[in-house]
């Protein structure tokens, strides 16, 4: 059976796995954004905490994803929770770091002007700092999401479905078509996502300069 023919006969299944993959990544990135932006902000506001958080997110990145999955099994078992934790951990570094630098790199004059006008700390955060740091934060999210689309494929190993299923099953059955389909769709998903976030980033860069 040729590759194209394979795609046509299995299109239902491929579509289902693609959607599963998207949901998994989306769910993980949303949690990662909430946690990551929060940690990035705390780091930017409290230098002492940043000395713990920043190296910590860096170290977790160096743990191989398979190993992290394994470490988590005794704690949360296999399945969705395990996968989400893994993906969130890998997303954190870029988001935390970019939130931190995005806030830190805002020229002092804007903060000074805001403070001089009697803006409260909360207003300065929500009306000045976060909007000005947004392009940098989005760049961090972009790096993370593209990365976990790839890592997400490995997560199929612990039974969460997604495009990785095609690859693992393909390997087990030595079906070249299956492996190829899985690989190609993971790539396409990465490229499309990267393109979309690139546009988003550009839009906000223009809005803040």
């Amino acid at each position: 059976m040729g590759f194209i023919e394979f795609l046509f006969t299995r299109n239902q299944m491929v579509l289902r796995l693609l959607l599963e993959h998207i949901w998994l990544v989306l769910f993980a990135i949303i949690i990662a954004i909430i946690v990551g932006v929060f940690l990035g902000l705390i780091s930017a506001y409290y230098p002492i905490i940043s000395k713990i958080i920043l190296p910590f997110t860096q170290i977790t990145m160096t743990v191989p994803s398979i190993a992290l999955m394994g470490i988590l099994i005794p704690l949360v078992g296999i399945g969705m929770i395990n996968a989400i934790i893994c993906l969130v951990v890998y997303s954190l570094l870029s988001i935390v770091r970019n939130t931190y630098t995005g806030i830190k790199e805002i020229p002092e004059e804007y903060i000074e002007a805001a403070r001089g006008m009697g803006m409260t700390k909360r207003w300065i955060l929500f009306k000045i700092k976060l909007p000005l740091a947004l392009p940098v934060i989005i760049a961090g999210v972009r790096t993370s999401i593209v990365m976990i689309i790839g890592i997400g494929a490995i997560m199929s190993y612990i039974g969460v479905g997604g495009l990785g299923d095609l690859i693992f099953r393909g390997i087990a059955r030595t079906s070249r078509n299956m492996i190829l389909t899985g690989a190609i769709f993971v790539s396409i998903l990465s490229i499309v996502t990267d393109f979309f976030f690139g546009k988003l980033e550009n839009y906000f860069v223009k809005k803040t300069s």
């Binding site: 000074e112 001089g116 006008m117 009697g118 409260t120 000005l132 300069s209």
Partner: protein, 370 residues
Amino acid sequence: MIRIKNLTKIYPGAEIPAVDNLNLEIGEGETCVLVGPSGCGKTTTLKMINKLIIPTEGTILIDGENVLKVDPIELRRNIGYVIQEIGLFPHMTIFENIATVSNELNWPKDKIKDRVYELMELMDLDPEIYRNRRPSDLSGGQRQRVGVARAMAANPPVMLMDEPFGAVDPITRGRLQDEFLNLQEKLKKTIIFVTHDINEALKMGTKIAVMRGGKLVQYTSPDGLLAQPENEFVEDLIGGDSTLKRLHLVLAKEVMKNPLYVARDSDSIADIKAKIGDKPKSKIYVTDSENTLMGYLPYAQLKREGSINSLIQPVKAKIADYTRLSEALSEMLSVGNSMICVVDDDNNFKGVISLQDILDTAKSESEIHS
């Protein structure tokens, strides 16, 4: 009134104070200009007034209240602050920038809009054109106007202005200064204005505080500074031509005189002749019934008969009543007239100034002080 007592700031790790035992009193409605070379502590002084910097020692009282005891947010909302770097928020439109404080004060939407439009018009920025623009789409001069408008949004009684017209070319700067002086005449705010340009200080200030190395060198009126510089440092700061500079402090309306005779455009030549007799005059100024300056009649034309309407010539040498004598003088020199007309904003004829009047002013000003 603002009273600064024994104010000192030593930055952490610094050996010498940035501001050293400063004492100043600024009356209601006055413009106090802090002037001095770069690094002499002007910005540091300003920022202590709105508590962006906490003094090492000393007190600042605004209307008798110690600013150190006032909630900083509350304090700053009553003090307009124009920062040295302008600092317009790049992600907001001009409208949003100016509306920042009133938004935070939760003013109703239409009150905010009215206020922002009012300020934009005051600053000569057409709201319909500029309200949705971003700071990056404005010229330097326009940005500085927005910076000033933003600081004035909640109508604070006190304004701190750190080189508000610093980043523009001399011509634009001159215009911004004139506009602001006009505005201040109406608003009568208490202003502390920072500059390192002595000419700007002389022009804008009712009081001038010369600073050097964090210390106050001299605190007096612009005229007093020119007449009696405290020491060589102040003399150097002023520069040589202090008589000419003094002309810069006097406004046209302060020395203008009533012209000897003013004709109405409804007069006939016979009427005019009857009134002035045969005494030769070089020019007869003509106004309409509302005192608007129409032009002048050369004396030689009076030989004719009938209505004067067709004989009226436009006046070339004409200045606004708030023009400085130095500018009046240069206008006279460039037009080549020894007499110049003074009008107000509505072109109403207010008076005339002769070259002799200017010379007399320069002389008397220097006599008073020597």
